[in-house]
């Protein structure tokens, strides 16, 4: 009997969801009459890999395109900026994302074309339970180089600081290291995590953690720490006050063509830029 009631409820919920979706689709259909229509009638696939900060936007863009045109399949993988640049350069993927501009050597070797479609800050983050909410750059450097090892020296509780960092392929790390640490040392006992998502999970679970994540990835599970009095937020990144920021790039080998070209045009179109805003990044157009 319970089973029947439950299926009844599920059916009702299903119908409600479908009608909601239909309404949403109608609205969206009315609002969008641009870049996404370019995909109609086409089929094929687009392979994307690289920067993990890009993933929320990539996923949403892919969802929009694939639901408008089921004949197109878009695969998205992470790996980090280094992986994105390498894989697109070697023709393994169509688009390689990176959270830093590829180096001159990389551009020359692979003949890469860069498309910057958003600006993203890299914010210092701690566990939401941590009373420390502001640091100076000098303090941050001392934490990462291992000079300050206890939260009590920073006005927090008497607990050892656990430092988290990203691996060498991370564009987020590259920007953080250059602009927040001034290319300073990172202590060898620092824990390494492999993506922006993993960093957030680690910080959310560890009351004594300090790490850094893309501002677009920040949510209630972690607390942003203001640096020299400026908090890491979309507004401060946009105004240029918060300086630990970088462009988010999609790279192609040579000039893009076909679906890849349309995908990049979509990212830069008003609809694509809307997704960028929605996911917490600063649009470029």
């Amino acid at each position: 009997m319970f089973g029947r009631i439950r299926t009844g409820i599920i059916k009702k919920m299903g119908i409600a969801a479908i009608s909601l979706l239909t309404v949403a689709a109608l609205f969206l259909g009315a609002a969008q009459a641009g870049a996404i229509d370019q995909f109609s009638g086409l089929k094929g696939d687009i392979r994307i890999s690289g920067g993990t900060a890009h993933i929320p936007v990539m996923k949403e863009a892919a969802k929009q395109i694939m639901s408008a045109n089921p004949e197109i399949s878009i695969s998205i993988a992470g790996g980090g900026s280094g992986v994105g640049i390498k894989q697109v350069g070697e023709g393994i993927v169509d688009i390689g994302n990176s959270g830093r501009a590829p180096s001159e050597a990389e551009k020359e070797k692979y003949g890469l074309k860069l498309f910057k479609w958003a600006i993203d800050g890299v914010g210092v983050a701690v566990n939401p339970g941590n009373p420390v909410t502001a640091l100076t750059k000098a303090q941050l450097k001392d934490i990462y180089s291992g000079k300050i090892t206890n939260w009590k020296d920073l006005g927090g509780s008497d607990a050892p600081i656990t430092v988290y960092t990203r691996d060498a392929s991370s564009g987020t790390r590259a920007v953080f290291w250059k602009k927040a640490l001034g290319k300073g040392d990172i202590v060898s006992s620092a824990n390494f995590v492999v993506s922006n998502g993993a960093m957030k999970t680690a910080i959310a679970n560890d009351p004594n953690a300090i790490g850094y994540v893309s501002v677009g990835h920040m949510d209630v599970s972690v607390a942003g720490v203001s640096l020299d009095g400026v908090s890491p937020a979309i507004e401060t990144v946009k105004s240029g006050e918060y300086t630990v920021a970088r462009g988010l790039y999609s790279n192609t080998k040579g000039d893009p063509s076909g679906l890849t070209k349309l995908f990049i045009a979509y990212l830069l179109s008003p609809e694509g830029q809307q997704i960028v805003v929605q996911k917490g990044f600063v649009p470029v157009n």
Partner: protein, 286 residues
């Protein structure tokens, strides 16, 4: 079967055996060729004893070797009593029906992907370790990784141990029964002394499995690049190191040093397999 089909079958099987042997040899060759700039320059052995600090031009993997050793040995320390106990239970101490159930479950456990263990480790084990030991910091440490890894290697060890138990000559067991031995005496005085080659093989295979696993250590050992000072320290294994560095710039020295890292791992695992083979050979002669 006709002679022709027999011949064809023999050729097909020979080719597939040759292909898999070739693949293993090719991997070794590949590692040698790519690692050669480091090995040939006499740099290889200094790599084994140096720290990792690409910023200062140091590409040694001493921290990773100690990390791998600590995590895999500790996981065997946890897994050994667990596995031996399970096999003793299945080998006569426990009721037959439950033993069969346990046996089925152990076989099922061999099929669980390691990422599941890593994932469970992050959400269930790491917070416990962190709250129990304040000096563990993040809770991502050798202890967490080796506890989780012991779950991964136990099924392997249990299967080899059971193999050893099953190979005990049934006449010995009958003789023990005839002398009035109870099931515990039979286990301690007859089965365990006879089954020890299987037990040693199981331990070595378990160690090989523990050294070769990547995801558990990558997800919950913390991956810090220093020589760990305690089991509550964050550590990086050779396998996680390869996973972490292989994503960086292909042209960098850091990337090239990875081949030497892979070679070290290959040699360690090969040594484990050779040790097992020698033991099996000895058992065959006895």
């Amino acid at each position: 079967m006709t002679r022709a089909t027999q011949k064809a079958a023999r050729i097909v099987f020979f080719l597939s055996a040759a292909a898999s042997a070739m693949a293993a040899a090719l991997v070794f060759g590949f590692l040698l060729v790519f690692g050669f700039p480091l090995i040939g320059g006499g740099e290889f052995f200094s790599l084994l004893t140096r720290p990792w600090s690409p910023g200062q031009g140091l590409y040694g993997f001493l921290p990773m070797i100690t990390g791998t050793a600590a995590i895999s040995f500790l996981s065997i320390v946890f897994a050994f009593p667990l596995s031996l106990g399970t096999v003793c239970f299945m080998g006569g101490l426990g009721p037959a029906r439950i033993s069969r159930l346990v046996d089925g479950f152990v076989r099922f456990m061999t099929g669980i992907p390691t990422v599941i263990y890593g994932f469970l480790g992050i959400f269930l084990l790491v917070p416990v370790v962190r709250t129990l030991f304040t000096s563990a910091g993040s809770g991502m440490c050798i202890l967490s990784a080796s506890l989780m890894l012991s779950l991964l290697v136990s099924p392997t060890m249990i299967i080899f141990f059971k193999d050893g138990f099953d190979s005990v000559d049934f006449r010995y067991i009958q003789a023990a029964d005839a002398l009035g031995a109870d099931s515990v005496q039979r286990l301690i005085y007859v089965i365990l002394p006879e089954a020890w080659p299987g037990i040693v093989t199981g331990v070595i295979m378990g160690l090989g499995r523990a050294m070769g696993d990547t995801l558990i250590a990558l997800m919950i050992a913390g991956n810090a690049v220093h020589v760990p000072g305690s089991i509550l320290d964050s550590a990086r294994t050779l396998t996680s190191h390869i996973a972490l560095v292989s994503a960086s710039d292909y042209e960098s020295l850091a990337f090239k040093s990875i081949f030497a890292c892979g070679l070290t791992l290959y040699v360690l695992n090969a040594l484990a397999v050779i040790a097992v083979r020698r033991l099996d050979g000895k058992r065959g002669q006895a």
